[in-house]
Amino acid sequence: MFDISVLKETSENLWEIPKSFRSDMRVSALVYASEAMLKEISRDRSLEQLVNVATLPGIVGYALAMPDIHEGYGFPIGGVAAFDAQEGIISPGGIGYDINCGVRLLRSSLTLPDAAAHLEKLGSAIYREVPSGVGKGGRLTLKGKEFNRVLERGAPAVVAMGYGTKEDLAHTESEGCIADASSEPVSERAKSRGKDQLGTMGAGNHFVEVDVVEKIFDPAAAQALGIFEDQVTVLIHTGSRGLGHQIATDHIRIMMRAMSEYGITLPDRELACTPFSSKEGGEYFAAMAAGANFAWANRQLITWEVRKAFAEVFGEKAGVLDLVYDVAHNIAKIEEYKIDGVNRKLIVHRKGATRAFPDQPVIIPGSMGTASYVLVGQEASMHKSFGSTCHGAGRRMSRTQARRQVDVKELKQRLSEKGIVVNAGSLAGLAEESPESYKNVDEVVEIVHAAGIARTVARLRPIAVVKG
């Protein structure tokens, strides 16, 4: 339990833990939240973890928490931290084990009345086409140079194999490729874990979901994105699978051993880091970028699989499922910001936070059975949140508690009554992802909208959920 009396509300729904709170803090910590949310946030260790992030060498401005913050390991989930490229560090824990976990939104030309009678069939077709669960391989097993090409070129590498279009790439963050990626600092074990995982969803909170556009908040922005009321859309939420997990594991271990050479001591081992300019820092960044590229290729291949499922169910009527946008929420990027009037190159760590550059689409998945949101980034994000916003609803209940409390039969019935078709490989996994396990996504989005960092455009309601 964190004593919230130490936080000061500096402007509406923005709270500060001053630098003076703990002697090892280099900057203050800021939290976007309502007072009620803050009380809930203070119950776990997320604010203590945010304070720990504020102690890291070379941190610039502030350690930032979004309203969907919750306890992670080392860094909290729902956090943003920017470090100077010359004097600052890079930390795998500030990105997470699921490198480039992210979401992409596809839009169809179908409306709910077109799809309503076919949802069972559509859910089953997607479940069949997109392999899910743990330890199940995909349709594409790449080796050697072909695999390294995916690591170094990302989504464009699988588009070149015929699994998508150039248009898809134009609507993907960084066009689906971080050019700094290298396959060399990616271990053979990481490559081996990833070799058959392209085009697979995995388990946990990852999903493919068919939604319907329930409400438009900003008609002009929605029109620009090709979104209209009652439209059928698809959300894909997954990341870099075992490859990314292994890259993070390998490089945290390397950094833990190397830290002392750079005189770095930490309040939590999971914050393991080295200077960005160090050999270890550079190698991790190149490997992380390779993991991010793999994740973009993965979501691109899943897009191809979803298109196949739609064509199977709707035939030509399905039309083309166009990509609205694909955005990462576990990543580090090199970006430039004006700090005190000077342009500085920063390593922006987003762990459970989404890039929200001005006019860039932002996709915020909610919990299964509630709502997801489409937003667009705002100019203010560039000076208020290092071009970032929230990433989802954020967990409020532990998975253990959810398994104990949620009656899966009752949950399936409840979802069915809401008109949601569910295809899930694991019933226990379904319970863990129940709506009551998450914070209210409406409230989370309201905070970032009111703060002016991302503007709400549309709300989506799930009609078919496919999970591992």
């Binding site: 776990d44 997320s46 919750h70 306890e71 992670g72 390991y73 080392g74 989930i77 997470g96 084990y97 699921d98 669960g133 743990v134 330890g135 199940k136 074990r189 081996s192 874990r193 995995g202 388990a203 946990g204 075992g242 997990h245 292994q246 993070a248 594991t249 945290i252 271990r253 833990m256 051993r257 939590d268 081992r269 999971e270 393991a272 967990r395 409020r396 209940m397 532990s398 998975r399 253990t400 508690q401 694991s426 226990a428 996994g429």
Partner: protein
């Protein structure tokens, strides 16, 4: 109880204890494999691997050992129920893990984290630690 699972907002906490450091390592590995909830392959031949790890201290050693076993399990799609520790010191472990190939796993563990891990001997002489899985 050699290991038990406790709530964590996003992930899973496992408390492990053992009468000796060796037992702690074995129990932590069994807990990790149990959490993965493997779906066994029928009539599969037994598999065996040697894991050798060196780490800066005993806590990192346990986490690195579990991660090595987890990576091997996920890479080879196997589960390990038996562990034989050949050599164990504060910064080095050599062990043989053996078990069976699996069809798939019921649960995923992305990684075993260092978060909250603290291998120590309590006043009763038992070895204990918490392990947080990122799932």
């Amino acid at each position: 109880m050699p290991f038990e699972f406790l709530p964590h907002t996003a992930d899973v906490r496992m408390n492990v204890s053992g009468k000796s450091l060796e037992e702690l390592f074995c129990d932590a590995l069994r807990g990790t494999m149990q959490f993965l909830s493997p779906n066994a392959q029928e009539n599969a031949a037994r598999v065996q691997h040697t894991i050798e790890i060196s780490s800066p201290d005993v806590t990192a050693l346990l986490v690195d050992f579990l991660n090595a076993a987890l990576s091997s399990a996920q890479e080879n799609k196997e589960t390990y129920a038996d562990v034989t520790i050949k050599d164990l010191a504060a910064t080095h472990v050599s062990a043989t893990v053996s078990g069976y190939p699996v069809q798939s796993f019921g649960n995923d563990i992305k990684a075993v984290t260092y978060h909250e891990a603290d291998v120590h001997k309590n006043e009763k002489g038992e070895w204990k630690t918490t392990i947080v899985f990122d799932i």
